[in-house]
Symmetry: D2
Subunit: 423 residues, 4 copies
């Protein structure tokens, strides 16, 4: 007979409260540094769960104004769960991580996508659009998300951690700070910022035992910000590193020290509006193993992974092309720049969605959040890189295909904007 005795749930090694500010919780940290001590430990082969707050640590609410987006404190992000020590891992090894599942909390069946202000976070079109805060709340209904702020669409989630990585060694951390510092210096003061140097303000290390002040100070002064992805993984925001995938991380410190956070219910390739995924709090299920000497064995400079067999299959798509000419702006020719090409493809798609009746903000949010596919077409046809962006037809409840009569323009209202009405 089935009994509790013969039914052992997988242990949760880090527990959090998604409704409580991250800074008040243990098991969370928001900088990368080798001296952040392990909060939990697991053995290879063990299945375990890790709970995560949303990346802002509960700063954003389920409501119809974007004031919380406007006012978000970015010195406090991302709030990561961990580090988790994997017993036996040593520098030079490869840590194999099975991302067995990623689920929202049952008591929090919603997430959000935000457009950040030009002066507070930015985003891919922060300057082009002179961005003001806007957002969409997404309701989770089982595997699907839909939004009262972007009517007419529903899609299956492709849940994944936007951010997952092993801890850097001191050497690697120094290298990050060197190269990013040089970029900051080279660019001077620009808005939005090109990169984020270590920032003592807002640091939170929710370790088991209080850290010695000198350790905390070192972390605050040197700790790498979590915004970019780097050699250890980190905030790569790869939508297909989703539940069911297997990832191979390089190990830089003893016990690997795995951290995870910034869970996404869904995301489009590019995640263009910066807070572009459907951000959520939730639970990740993991299993790990160690391959000794894996960095050398696999020439591992950055993680590699096997995608999941259960990513949603929206095979029919409408695909937009872009090249490295800023023809939506001043017409300048760039040299084989895939980022510029990506932007044109996205702007072409936004223009198309606006013909269907979506506002620019809705279109921008939708491309960020839906399972949009962006491929690098070619990066050798000088001077134009070509990038494509495909939007699945199956996520719309209406026909969006080009047809001889043109497109039917509907009224989809507007997404959540600031309470002062500024867009």
């Amino acid at each position: 007979m089935a009994t509790k005795a013969n039914s052992v749930p997988h242990p949760t090694v880090i527990k959090v409260d998604p409704f409580k500010p991250a800074a008040e919780q243990k098991g969370l940290h928001n900088r990368w540094h080798p001296d952040i001590p392990a909060y939990a430990a697991v053995k290879p082969g063990e299945v375990f769960k890790v709970e995560c707050v949303d990346w802002t640590g509960a700063q954003i609410g389920n409501n119809d104004y974007s004031d919380d987006i406007r006012d978000v404190d970015l010195t406090k992000v991302h709030n990561l769960s961990g580090p988790v020590a994997v017993e036996g891992a040593e520098p030079g090894d490869c840590l194999v991580v099975d991302i067995l599942d990623v689920q929202p909390f049952e008591e929090m069946p919603w997430g959000y996508t935000g457009i950040f202000e030009l002066n507070n976070g930015g985003g891919l079109f922060a300057k082009e659009f002179q961005s003001r805060a806007a957002k969409a709340i997404w309701d989770f209904e089982g595997i699907y998300a839909s939004s009262r702020h972007i009517p007419g669409v529903r899609f299956a989630g492709i849940t994944h951690p936007g951010l997952i990585g092993t801890a850097p060694s001191q050497e690697l951390l120094n290298e990050w700070n060197r190269r990013e510092g040089e970029l900051i210096q080279a660019c001077g003061e620009v808005v939005p910022a090109v990169a984020f140097p270590p920032e003592p303000k807002g640091v939170h290390i929710g370790s088991k035992e209080p850290l010695k002040p000198e350790v905390l100070e070192k972390i605050a002064k040197e700790g790498a910000r979590t915004i970019p992805g780097r050699e250890h993984g980190g905030n790569c925001d790869i939508k297909n590193l989703s539940r069911g995938s297997r990832c191979y991380f390089p190990v830089f410190v003893k016990d690997a020290l795995l951290s995870v956070g910034d869970l996404h219910f869904s995301q489009g390739d590019g995640e263009l509006s910066f807070c572009g995924a459907i951000e959520m709090a939730g639970i990740v299920t993991f299993k790990t193993s160690i391959i000794k000497g894996g960095i050398e064995k696999f020439a591992l400079k950055q993680p590699i992974f096997l995608p999941s067999p259960v990513d949603p299959m929206y095979s029919a798509k409408l695909v937009f092309e872009g090249i490295s000419v800023d023809y939506h702006g001043d017409g300048k020719q760039y040299n084989m720049d895939a980022t510029v090409a990506y932007k044109q493809a996205a702007l072409n798609c936004i223009a198309y969605l606006m013909k269907l009746g979506y506002t620019r903000e809705q279109a921008y949010l939708l491309l960020s959040a839906a399972p949009v596919e962006s491929h690098v077409g070619a990066v050798v046809d000088s001077p134009n890189a070509c990038v494509t962006l495909g939007i699945p037809l199956g996520i719309f409840d209406h026909d969006i295909l080009p047809n001889p009569d043109g497109l039917v323009k509907k009224d989809f209202g507007q997404c959540a904007i600031r309470s002062d009405g500024v867009v």
Copy 2:
């Protein structure tokens, strides 16, 4: 009863000889200019075929040296079939083109992938690798390609025209020449070149009737080179614009004047070695229709398309990540540069393939030619863009997955190199 009388083959409106220099053939041209007269005309709704030489116009042979790649004359490329006038199309319209099929010639069941010399064509890693000419010949066996120069792989083709577009208006052409000229001026003399200005040498316009000298001279002086993709389509090298897809082109001149060439049996996202696809001569089957005023109706700045339902499905992949730090080179941090990120992902994959026993040249060619998928992961996590590159497991006849014992290194020989042995 089935009879010849009731079985009408689709007409071929342009015929070519794949074994004859392109410059000696009619129906081919190798510049973009509104004054190139239509070579053939079709009505909307008609199914028709267009034959194409390979992009070099028979310069490359089925042999085991890369001397022909080294010596290729790039002033003569690409050789395009056309223009085909579509009756009734007018500037401002959208030309709908069904790419119904793309097949190699029965009498030429092979194609090639080339690495070009640093000084003659370049390629994505021309400088990094100080590239010398190399190539792989691919044998076509039905839907599959395999190569004596890259043993251990076989894959289904995803046949497509690397280059397809409508003719530019004079205004658009002028704009191209302006912006590309400015880039050339800004960069100065560099190797490989950043862009290619109009070049009278090598121009070929194989029109029905001889052109007036002043027209030919104008085309030679102003005609845009065919290397980059642009607003009209052109050399976009998008592997998924394959047989079975439907493409929506903006129309800039009367009758649209569609041209096509640079057929590929297969290509990876990025086409990294420049002549990176499996280049072939062959036959395209088309059908067109016109949507009046389509540019305005669909906000069309560049073509959009619906991909084919028959692209090969290699769902299991090993995915490599890259960020916009040149960690394979001098370690410099770039600002959200997806091209740099793509390059790191590709270099990570090449390093992995070399652990399996492929030479650097073989790996470079393989990534260019096989149905590799490259996604823009995220382009908002300052300063790092993240790009992924996934290589299908199913194209290998051996297991390439990471495993605890490391990778088995086999001897796959080498691809075709120069007869003087220089690599």
Copy 3:
């Protein structure tokens, strides 16, 4: 800010204990009858959850013997959660049911697949194999299942309710009893039974308020057994009616009275060993709507559905063929019998798996539980129907392809068998 107040979980309208005998629980019933009163009520558009025990009602344990399978009491199955009244549904309508999610209980991360005894339940090969009880326990690790009883495989679940349907009208119920009674009479006493007439023994109706004795007696005497699928849906055991699918049910009684149970973590097409899916207890998330007069509008004789976009994609398969000749038995030719053809294909696959080292019981269980695809090839080539059965390559951790050296036979032990050792 995210708060409990703005985060409303979806309500659970039926709660059960997966470790308690079903007969002791409310909200469960194990017969189909129009007089079974609604246990819960929902409005169209509402998202709600329903908890389900496993189909046997906790009779099977997580252990290494199959005695519980041998001794299972089949008069008590299936235990269904419901009925759920959908307000406003009337006979003749179509009830649209979104199966938004299907998850195992967190506290019970395992399921089982069983081979039933010839004399107690049977199965597709009960007679051919003179079946004795055997089973495999499957451990759930996020989206994956694996089994200590069938080493070497792991696959992503395709979670679905094996059984879901609306209540029959009295007329429809009478028709079921008539036609099944005639079959039973025509076949006489056979083992295993061809069909199951109403059976008062074991009836359980866990209604809110105690039923009047005469009502209970009527249900016990007339209530249709839950083994077969019928016009209302019921036990169709369709693996692709999985989480994410949308199903259109005919409505036969006021408020539709939807019931659900027999949850599966995974199943192969055919579910051949009878208890062939990975049986589990768990939670279904639903949303409904009503289409008035839908039976007539859609010519609805039985449910139709739209499959989920997230079913696992194992595209590479090894496919076995079968025809309607019992060439594994007495060589008899059957007349266009797809069931016989299915059996040959399955037996061909079992024979192949045994060459790899699996026992017959392991192979039989594996085909039942894994995401095997069985297609009806052709049913018009008299006298042979042709049916195929494809087993995904990606579920094995070793290479199972035919190769010139033959197949490597490994030792995979044996599945759970009876404690008396009888197989």
Copy 4:
């Protein structure tokens, strides 16, 4: 340089004329018998082509009446190309056949689907519909087919040989004749026939050299008809045994003696109208290899195969269910009969398509020809087998989904019927 000299086309080992009666051509035969001599010979590893007439041998024309279907001479079918001897194959071996490509003839870009008369060929619903001859002509436009007789649909082909197999040994042939003879005897005279005994009328063996009269007589008297698939493959009509697949055949005679024919441009699972695929003449490209002792190594009772990676991907479907109760007929309950279940699912789909405006004949033809997927859901839930049939949404140029307002009924005319107007 590319030259004819370095471009060697694959040889065509059997050439036919698709517009000439099969009986007048060499390289064709229409019975299975071990004494039919090889018409061509190939070596393992060689790529070669085989041309095929359509299965009737040019009896059906591209016109708008079905009289040719009504009058077809079925004693003459199928016309197979071959046999092809594979050097070195011996009884007990496994013949590996790569079906590298399947293409229609360029000069015959059309095919047909037929409903046969109850008294001449039948079909799955011959009795239910009291079938009279009807047909649809399909035009091939590259990879797509569409029909003037069934407007509103277009789909990508999944080209395949409906019929492919090795020659039987004398023992195997005797066994076929025994068992099929017993079935014919058991059923008595029925219409349509349950099976087809050897039939001297219409025999054609187009061997290189004239056969000795006694050999021809033996073949005529004993030769197995080609209608059903059997242990050697034969007329299995499996749509996914398509171009790009690899098939493993058992070898029963020296040199294997492979024959192929009955090419299909497309087919639905089940091929229900008997001549249900899109029948065509065309060209198959093959490559073979031999695995010594493969029958024993792989427990090979019938071919097994690896499907192609390029089958069209129409993931969104509307799925119909059926059970083994003839609820479209007399309401009889059958015992776990998957064929009856398949029929109900198909009839449910036909009823739905008729709500959209298609005639019963159009719907029947469409289900036969389009890439419909039919899965065996479950064959263990006594007494009801459950079978599903899914029709892809992407093949329609209009929305066919159920919606609250019911289905829009359009006028699609009618398919080709008899010139006397009888339907």
